[in-house]
């Protein structure tokens, strides 16, 4: 039976004074209870970052928002919801506001995302369960009596068994963003989609893989959203496909990137040092959020590097194209990916010769095969490690 409860809205408005410039901006927190999830919508000023932490006893979700101010010390909203008891907003320090969400249960999964226009931080809390994808994507959950949801805190989601991988393929650009345009008018967004589809097709032949594309057609997906989709899907690998471009028509070849804050490995220490500042100090830079994003991807730095190495090797071999090597740079689309993530530049669309090749379906097939082989080789190496030390 479908979870046939009507949608109940709780609209809670924190009555606050008209804010002065740069001051209080959390003036309207909205809580929506839906069958699939409960959603907390916190409007924040543009550029507000957050750090989230979950506490077990009592079950609580704590969000530090910064840089933002409130002109009261503490206010709370009591809620009737299956997950949430109350939400407290309190002044943590000069520019930091703590949002504490007290929960009824420790059996939940949460996702936090931010959006702009209107700028807001959104917390989604939902029951843990097998079929989490519809809930994650904001669709109604499909809960049946035959298949009751299994519960467990988000950290305790059973580790995926060997041979069950979610692979997220991200065709670069799309919609209003054509990407780079070649000398004869080839649009990057068309090439990346064509190759991504071919990669997905190859991966789909293997039943161990669940393959997702961040866009299925010619649509515009913001960079933040691409990583978010991958995280919400619980992806195991994120592969973004792009074509390169530059001023020179002579630049040629394939290169694969993984993320780094300071390109080519510099500054990792600095990021780690600043991590403490995130949780301790009240004097936070407005860009702290970016560092957090880096830290998320940083956990997978070695894996990402290894994946990049293997994929690069396989594409170069499959397509017989010049090798520009594996590099690292701070990529907007890779930051925040909670999984090994790489960006493949499959050739220079700005080079007339390479542009012609990239348009060719047979060449696209070769590239796709290289990416596919890279992914499979990487996963096999993981499976091997797992069977060696289970």
């Amino acid at each position: 039976m479908r979870f046939a409860v009507g949608v109940v809205f709780f609209l809670i408005t924190l009555v606050t004074q008209v804010s002065q410039a740069g001051e209080l901006s959390i003036d309207k927190v909205k809580i929506t209870s839906e069958p699939a999830h409960t959603r907390i919508f916190i409007p924040v000023p543009e550029g507000t970052g957050y750090v989230a932490k979950d506490i077990d006893a009592p079950p609580r979700l704590v969000l530090n928002l910064f840089p933002v101010r409130i002109n009261f010390t503490c206010k709370e909203i009591r809620v009737e919801d299956r997950f949430i008891q109350k939400i407290c907003l309190l002044k943590d320090s000069e520019n930091v506001v703590k949002a504490a969400v007290d929960l009824n249960t420790s059996e939940y999964i949460f996702d936090i995302s931010s959006q702009s226009q209107p700028s807001a931080v959104i917390i989604q809390i939902r029951p843990p369960g097998k079929d989490i994808i519809p809930a994650l994507l904001g669709l109604e959950s499909i809960e049946t009596e035959e298949n009751p949801p299994s519960f467990g805190p988000w950290q305790k989601i059973p580790k995926k068994k060997v041979g069950n991988y979610r692979i997220v393929i991200d065709p670069g650009h799309g919609g209003k963003d054509p990407g780079a345009i070649g000398p004869s008018g080839t649009r990057e967004k068309d090439i990346t989609l064509a190759i991504a589809r071919k990669v997905a097709e190859l991966l789909n032949q293997n039943s161990e893989f669940q393959v997702y594309l961040t866009r299925e057609g010619d649509e515009f997906i913001p960079l933040d959203r691409r990583t978010e989709i991958a995280n919400l899907l619980g992806g195991d690998l994120f592969v973004s496909i792009h074509t390169n471009a530059t001023w020179s028509s002579r630049a040629k070849g394939i290169e694969t990137f993984y993320n780094s804050r300071y390109p080519y490995g510099e500054g990792a220490k600095e990021v780690a040092m600043r991590e403490n500042a995130v949780f301790g100090s009240g004097d936070l830079p407005s860009t702290v959020k970016n560092i957090i994003w880096d830290l998320i991807q940083n956990q997978y730095r070695q894996e990402s590097k290894e994946l990049a190495r293997i994929v690069q090797e396989k594409i170069v071999r499959a397509s017989n194209t010049s090798n520009r090597g594996v590099k690292s740079a701070p990529f907007y689309v890779l930051r925040g990916a909670n999984m090994p993530a790489i960006l493949v530049e499959v050739g220079f669309i700005s080079n007339p010769w390479e542009e012609r090749k990239l348009k060719n379906a047979k060449f696209q097939e070769l590239i796709a095969r290289g990416i596919y082989q890279g992914i499979v080789t990487y996963i096999n190496s993981l499976d091997k490690k797992k069977t060696e030390n289970p």
Partner: protein, 190 residues
Amino acid sequence: MRKKLLIFIVLMVGAFIAGIVFAPLLQEKTYHLKEWIKRPVSLPPVSKVVTLYFSTPEDELLVPVERKIIINDTRNINDQIRKIIQELIKGPQTSSFLSTLPPQTKLRAVYTREDVIYVDFSSSLIENHPGGTSAELVSIYSIVNTLLENFPSYSRVQILIEGKPHSTLAGHIDIRQPFRKNTKIIKTTE
């Protein structure tokens, strides 16, 4: 006796006229002197050799190129930064190197604070950018490396678009935070 009186009168009249004629000049001179004292010593424009980073056509690396620029005020760092960026926008003078920024790029403002140089471009930089990871890296690091090379007392460069931090130039490299000098992207002569 009358002759002496006449000479005396003529001298008096002469002195009177001279007084009327030269007094303003004297006054003006004092005025100029005062102005001169009040104003800080303005040095004549000097020429300075600066290092600009342009890119190589094949491997998308940066190469240092020296260029002489005229500086009006050596103590005004922001003005020097502006001049250097404008030279970077003009591009290389030889065909063996390539531009790193679209020629239409407009610089709005320059700020310096603590160890960071802020360079604020108009959206022209984004609108005319060819796109592509390589082109973005070359644009970013030609700005960053050029400024940090010429102003070693600063350690980071933040690129702003229309006065605000921006996500990317063309969808790849994150430019929301200041960058440090990147020596790996500089072509080394072997």
